[in-house]
C-alpha cells in the first residue's frame, strides 16, 4: 500500500470518500464481500445454474437414466421437430400461457379496481376472493373436475338457462378453456392483491385534477391509472406467464392431457418423456425449448414495457 496509489488522479475523479479510502482497505473490503456472498454464489451454482447447465448438456445426449449418457448432437431436437405430439403440445402451451396470462392479468386488475371503489363490504369481498388462492392446487383440480363433470354442478346450474349438456373436460373445444378458467380462478386473486397495493399507492393529485377537468371514470382509468400501473402490469404479466408455463397439476389432474392431446402442455410432456419413457435426453431437450420460449417472452416483455415506461416518464 502506497500513498501515491491513494492520491492518484483516477481516485480524485470519483467520490471524495472513495478517494480517501486506502486502496488496500478497499481491496480487503471487496475480498471480504466476496467471501460473504460466496456461500450464496456457491449455492446458486450448485443447485440452480449447475442443474440448468447440466440439463442443457443432457439435451445433446441419449440418456435412459440407467446407462451412461451418450452424445448424439442435435438429434433430440430433430426428433422433437418430427414429433407431431410435441408440435401439438407446443401449440397447446402457447395457447394456455397466452390465455392464462391475459385473463389472469385482466381478472386481477378488474377485481382490484372493483375492490378499490371503496363501496361497503369491498374489503370483505377481497378476503373472500383471496381465499381461493389459499386452496391447495390439487384440491382445486379435484373439486373443479367434479364441478365440470358432464353431470356436475356447472351443467346443472346452466340447464335452467337453456344451456344443454356441455362436456367441459372431455371435449376438444372446451377442455383447454375450462383449464384456463380454473387457472384464472385459482391465481387471479393473488394478482388482485398486487394490483390493489399498486392502486393504493397511486397519488390522488392526478385523479383530483382530472376530475376537476371533467374526465370521466373511463378516461381517468385509461389515461392515468393504467399508465401509472404499467410497472405492476409488467410484473404481473411476466410472473403469471412464467407460472403458467410451468403449470403441471392442472392439466395432469383434470384431463390427463386429453381428450386426445388437447390439453397436454410441455411440462407434462417433459414428465412423461423423462419418467415414463425413460428418455431423459429428450426430456431435457423439451425443457430447454420451454426455457428458451420463456426467456424470449420475458425479454420481449421487458423491452416492451421499459419502452412504454420511458414514454410515460
Amino acid at each position: 500500500m502506497t500513498m501515491q496509489a491513494v492520491s492518484g488522479p483516477a481516485r480524485v475523479e470519483g467520490s471524495e470518500v472513495a478517494a480517501a479510502i486506502p486502496s488496500g482497505f478497499s481491496r480487503r473490503i471487496r475480498r471480504w464481500g466476496l467471501i460473504f456472498v460466496a456461500p450464496t454464489l456457491l449455492f446458486l451454482a450448485i443447485f440452480k445454474y449447475g442443474p440448468m447447465l447440466w440439463a442443457i448438456g443432457l439435451s445433446f445426449t441419449s440418456y435412459d437414466m440407467v446407462s451412461q449418457p451418450q452424445y448424439i448432437g442435435l438429434q433430440n431436437y430433430r426428433l422433437l421437430l418430427e414429433n407431431p405430439v410435441f408440435r401439438e403440445t407446443l401449440i397447446n402451451t402457447f395457447v394456455y400461457v397466452g390465455a392464462s396470462t391475459a385473463f389472469m392479468t385482466m381478472a386481477g386488475l378488474g377485481l382490484a379496481l372493483a375492490i378499490n371503489t371503496r363501496v361497503p363490504g369491498a374489503r370483505h369481498c377481497m378476503t373472500a376472493i383471496f381465499l381461493t388462492n389459499l386452496m391447495p392446487i390439487i384440491a382445486v383440480c379435484l373439486v373443479w373436475r367434479l364441478l365440470l363433470h358432464p353431470y356436475g354442478l356447472v351443467n346443472q346450474l346452466l340447464a335452467p338457462l337453456g344451456v344443454g349438456r356441455v362436456d367441459w373436460l372431455t371435449n376438444e373445444a372446451t377442455a383447454m378453456p375450462a383449464i384456463v378458467f380454473v387457472t384464472v380462478w385459482r391465481f387471479a386473486p393473488y394478482f388482485m392483491v398486487v394490483f390493489l397495493a399498486a392502486l393504493l399507492a397511486l397519488p390522488d393529485d392526478y385523479f383530483e385534477a382530472a376530475e376537476l377537468d371533467g374526465a370521466g371514470v373511463f378516461r381517468r382509468f385509461w389515461h392515468i391509472t393504467l399508465p401509472l400501473l404499467m410497472p405492476t402490469v409488467f410484473f404481473v404479466v411476466v410472473v403469471s406467464a412464467l407460472l403458467s408455463a410451468r403449470i403441471f397439476l392442472m392439466p395432469f389432474i383434470m384431463t390427463g392431457g386429453g381428450p386426445g392431446n388437447a390439453t397436454r402442455v410441455l411440462s407434462m410432456l417433459i414428465y412423461e418423456t423423462g419418467f415414463s419413457y425413460m428418455k431423459m435426453g429428450q426430456a431435457a431437450a423439451i425443457s430447454v425449448v420451454l426455457f428458451a420460449i420463456m426467456l424470449v417472452f420475458t425479454t420481449l416483455q421487458m423491452r416492451l414495457f421499459m419502452r412504454r415506461e420511458q414514454v410515460y416518464s
Binding site: 440407467v66 446407462s67 372431455t170 386426445g260 415414463s276 419413457y277
Partner: protein
C-alpha cells in the same frame, strides 16, 4: 473396587512387568472391542430393500410374509415399501437412475421387457427357488405368463399372481329388464351390445345407468380393455419386424367394435366414462353400470362399497364376448418378484431365499388374497377352499385362456398412443383409420428411437 484395591492391583501388575501404559492400552482395547462388537455382529446381517404396489389384499399379505421371514431369519432385515399401482414402475425407473432402486421388487408383467432390455434385473437361480430344472419351472406356470418372466432360457421373475379379466354382471339389473344372467350372459359381441343397450337407462341425454362401461381414465386400463378386442378381431400390436400394426384392417375393426357400445348401441357415455373413479370398478359396484370388465374382484372390495350386492350376491363374473363366432378372450397379466441386477451377491442370495419363502404357502396366499389366482399351477387349485369359491372355474378359465399385454420395451409409449387414439375416436368423433395411422406412426417412431 475402592482406590486402595485398584492401586494395589496396579502395583501388582507393575510388579509382573505390566506398565500403567499397558494397562491403559488394555482398557482402550477392551473399549474398542465393546464398541466394535455390534458391528461385528452385524457383519452377517443382511439389509434388503423391497418395493411393491398397493392393493388392499395383496400388499398386506406380502408384508405379512416378509415379516414372518424376518422372524425366522433375524439376520435379515427387509425394508418394505409400497407405492400406488400406477406409480411403482416410475419410482423404480427413478430409483435406478439415482442409484436408490430397491434390491428386490414386484414388477408388473408388462414392464419386464423394459427391465430386461436394459439389464436391470438379474437372472434367477431356479434351484434356489425350489425347482430342479428350467423345465420343472416352465411346466409350473401358464405359458402366457412365462413369456414375460423368462428370456433366452433364463428366468428373470418369480411369478406371484396371474389373472384374467372377466365381464362382471349385475344379475339384479339383468333380472330387472327380463334377462336371465346365466342364459343371457353375452358371449358374442352382437349380443353383448344388445344386452348392454337393454340394461341402459337414460333420462334425456343423461345416463341414469350405463349398460356397460369402459374405463377411460388411464392408458393402462385402455390397453387392458382394448387388447382382447384387437386380438379377438384378428389383429396384433406388432408384426414380426416390430412394426406397429394397429392401423391395419383388423385394428380398425377392433376400434369400431370398441366404439360400437357407445355409438351404435348407445349403452355407454364415454364423456362420463373418462371421469372414471380412481377405483375403476366403482360405477359397477355402485350400480351405476350393469356390466364392467374387471380383474377378479375380492369379496371385501364389494362388501366395502355395496353391502347389499355382497350379502345378496347379485353379481356374476363371466367370460368376455367373443368376436366373429370365436370364444371370448380377456387380457391376462400378473406380477413377478424380481431382483435388482446391481444388488450384491449376498443380497441376491437372501432375496432368492425370501422369495421362495413368500411363495411357499399357496393356501395362505389364497386365504388372504382370494380371488386373485396364483400364477403357479401346482399345489393350490385342488384345495377345497379354492374349489368352494363362487365361480372359481370362470376365474381360472379367464386366466388360462387370456391373452397377455404386448411385451415391448416401448410399452408406455404404445399405451399412451392408444389411449389418445381411443379418446379421439370416442370423444371427438375422429376418423378411426386416420387416428390409428397416427398412433401407429407414433409407436414406430418410439421403436426406432429405442433401437437407436
Amino acid at each position: 473396587m475402592d482406590n486402595t484395591e485398584s492401586k494395589l492391583r496396579v502395583r501388582g501388575a507393575r510388579s509382573k512387568g505390566v506398565s500403567r501404559r499397558d494397562a491403559l492400552a488394555l482398557i482402550g482395547a477392551a473399549g474398542a472391542a465393546a464398541v466394535a462388537s455390534p458391528a461385528l455382529g452385524q457383519a452377517s446381517r443382511v439389509n434388503l430393500s423391497f418395493w411393491t404396489f398397493e392393493n388392499p389384499q395383496q400388499r398386506p399379505w406380502l408384508h405379512k410374509r416378509v415379516r414372518q421371514y424376518m422372524e425366522k431369519n433375524p439376520n435379515v432385515n427387509v425394508e418394505f415399501q409400497w407405492f400406488t399401482f400406477a406409480d411403482l414402475g416410475k419410482k423404480i425407473s427413478v430409483g435406478y437412475a439415482t442409484g436408490t432402486a430397491p434390491d428386490g421388487f414386484v414388477s408388473q408383467d408388462w414392464l419386464m421387457p423394459t427391465w430386461q432390455a436394459k439389464g436391470l434385473i438379474a437372472p434367477l437361480d431356479i434351484q434356489k427357488l425350489g425347482y430342479n430344472s428350467y423345465k420343472d419351472f416352465s411346466d409350473d406356470f401358464p405359458e402366457a405368463f412365462l413369456a414375460g418372466a423368462t428370456k433366452d432360457g433364463k428366468v428373470y421373475g418369480f411369478p406371484t399372481w396371474f389373472y384374467g379379466f372377466l365381464n362382471y354382471l349385475n344379475t339384479k339389473h339383468f333380472a330387472s329388464v327380463g334377462l336371465d344372467p346365466e342364459r343371457d350372459a353375452p358371449l358374442s359381441w352382437e349380443k353383448f351390445g344388445e344386452v348392454a343397450k337393454k340394461l341402459t337407462i337414460k333420462e334425456g341425454n343423461r345416463f341414469v345407468r350405463q349398460g356397460f362401461k369402459f374405463a377411460m381414465h388411464a392408458p393402462q386400463w385402455t390397453m387392458v380393455q382394448f387388447n382382447p378386442i384387437l386380438v379377438g378381431a384378428g389383429g396384433s400390436w406388432f408384426d414380426a419386424s416390430g412394426k406397429c400394426t394397429i392401423n391395419n384392417a383388423a385394428g380398425v375393426k377392433a376400434m369400431k367394435l370398441r366404439a360400437s357400445i357407445a355409438k351404435e348401441y348407445g349403452a355407454e357415455d364415454p364423456a362420463e366414462s373418462i371421469a372414471t373413479n380412481p377405483l375403476p370398478q366403482m360405477d359397477w359396484l355402485k350400480e351405476r353400470a350393469s356390466m364392467f370388465w374387471c380383474h377378479p374382484i375380492p369379496p371385501p372390495a364389494i362388501q366395502s362399497q355395496n353391502t347389499a350386492m355382497a350379502s345378496e350376491h347379485y353379481y356374476r363374473p363371466v367370460q368376455y364376448a367373443g368376436i366373429d363366432g370365436k370364444p371370448g378372450i380377456s387380457t391376462t397379466y400378473g406380477f413377478n418378484l424380481v431382483i435388482n441386477a446391481r444388488a450384491p451377491a449376498e443380497k441376491q442370495a437372501a432375496l432368492h431365499d425370501l422369495y421362495k419363502f413368500i411363495m411357499s404357502d399357496a393356501e395362505d396366499c389364497w386365504n388372504d388374497t382370494q380371488p386373485f389366482p396364483i400364477a403357479r399351477k401346482s399345489g393350490w387349485t385342488n384345495n377345497p377352499k379354492v374349489q368352494s369359491f363362487p365361480q372359481i372355474a370362470e376365474i381360472l378359465k379367464a386366466r388360462d385362456q387370456g391373452v397377455f399385454l404386448p411385451r415391448t420395451p416401448v410399452y408406455n409409449e404404445l399405451a399412451d398412443a392408444v389411449h389418445r387414439a381411443v379418446q379421439r375416436v370416442m370423444l371427438n368423433g375422429a376418423d378411426i383409420q386416420a387416428t390409428l395411422n397416427e398412433a401407429a406412426a407414433e409407436v414406430d417412431r418410439a421403436t426406432a428411437n429405442a433401437r437407436g
